[in-house]
Symmetry: C2
Subunit: 255 residues, 2 copies
DNA sequence: AAGTGGTCTAGACCACTTA
DNA sequence: AAGTGGTCTAGACCACTTA
């Protein structure tokens, strides 16, 4: 490769890459970034296999050990999935992954199950300032997706999902939206949600919410605000979910 | 070392260790377990430095690379902390770590701050069945710690903490408890909390809770139930926290 | 049998901290 | 200057999957 370099040179090379001399970027992180760029650009599509470690090491001009450290980092971020004996694959938002990684509601007695959509509406509207800030909008329009979601046939979740209209052209042509909306982002808009930050509060149901959820006005609800970000760290989605948690709970692991 | 072994032998050796032939335990995981055992046993105390990688590799009879993989695993579980140029240390529950790892409440406007204890009561009582199950109690008694905790001088958190009486002898002699209770577990009872699972719900304040928190009866509160476990995976603490989230929220990262 | 990722080694050199 | 953890290499062999 033309950009092959030895370990000693990698330090200054990393510095010139950004134009800022911020100490030192190890070779394996440079390799990680190169591979991540290919995934972001779509050169390597979700679900497809990467070249073998031997081939990648040759392509990148590094040892297998260094290449593996780069793959280790991507795997720990769940950007890729490795299977001994089979190969390394770009991660995709299949039902299982989304269910466990991004859906944290479980029954008090029966564990987790996937929710089903009973109502879905997509509309274009001007962004509110909170949304504009969370999504770092260039324009001023968002898609507003409103869904009623049920567990065991009972509506327990009210979702309001806001995304940048300009990043999701003709989203309204995709109605009815698939149950797993992150799969839609990935397949039709080439945007992969990498992680999310959620803020939880307890609030009281207003009249409309009480009617939709079949509870009393003033009933305690769990409000979950989520900002979801893409592989490159840019915010993709702002979401507010209200959940009736009488027989369900939100599960969080602290490690 | 007398138990030095080469890579080829490690597979069958791992099998005989447990008496069950469950495939294969790599050498670095065996080394990881050995070091974890020393930390659990207190041979290596929280806050102290481990021997250098070179020395450890010699002691364990493995290469530095394998030794580092074991340390990597312990570091990713936050059991140890490494500092380039200084050394490797057994993690301890200092204020900072507990604040960020186990305290997830933050102000809507000003980020996180440590809570202060305004009231604390310790009592011994019979365990309820839910507690007995969560803590896998051998006996039937628990310590019940009740605390009122404030942020910016205002009581926002009501905590009920239950621990096995037999694992915390004479806990009531430690009153007043320190602000950081996991530091107490670690220093005086040699129990390190490694991780926790939390279950969140929205509930309505009853009369007593409303009085303590200075809100109306029926006001929505965030209930957080936590089961905290030790380094060896055994449950240590069952805790129920009620939080007034009008100007605060619970923060959760999904990766 | 061939190909994949996973483990392990021995050694070199680098970045960082402390004295 | 000496000691620490961090990076990188080249090569060997192992566990697992697929054909």
């Amino acid at each position: 490769m033309s950009d092959k370099t030895d370990a000693k040179a990698s330090s200054s090379k990393a510095g010139t890459g950004t134009g800022v001399e911020l100490g030192f970027t190890p070779l394996y992180l440079q390799v990680r970034q190169k591979m991540l760029d290919k995934i972001i650009a779509g050169t390597w599509q979700p679900g497809t296999a990467l070249p073998s470690e031997q081939q990648l090491a040759l392509q990148m001009g590094v040892s297998q050990g260094t290449l593996r450290k780069a793959l280790d980092a991507l795997a720990s971020d769940r950007v890729i999935v490795r299977h001994q004996g089979r190969g390394t694959f770009v991660a995709e938002h299949d039902q299982r992954r989304t269910l466990f990684q991004f859906f944290k509601i479980a029954s008090d007695s029966d564990g987790r199950m996937p929710p089903e959509t009973l109502f879905c509406q997509v509309a274009e509207r001007a962004a509110e300032s909170e949304e504009s800030q969370a999504l770092q909008l260039a324009g001023d329009k968002v898609w507003h997706i409103h869904r009623h979601r049920a567990l065991r046939g009972r509506v327990l979740l009210l979702e309001d999902i806001m995304v940048d209209r300009d990043r999701f052209p003709a989203l309204d042509d995709r109605v009815p939206l698939p149950n797993n909306i992150y799969e839609l982002y990935e397949r039709h808009f080439a945007i992969t949600v990498a992680h999310a930050r959620e803020r939880l509060k307890a609030i009281s149901a207003n009249e409309k919410q009480a009617e939709l959820l079949g509870c009393d006005v003033g009933h305690a609800l769990l409000q979950i605000e989520r900002t979801a970000t893409a592989l490159n760290g840019s915010p993709i989605e702002f979401r507010r979910t209200l959940c009736l948690t009488d027989h369900y709970h939100y599960s969080s692991d602290l490690r």
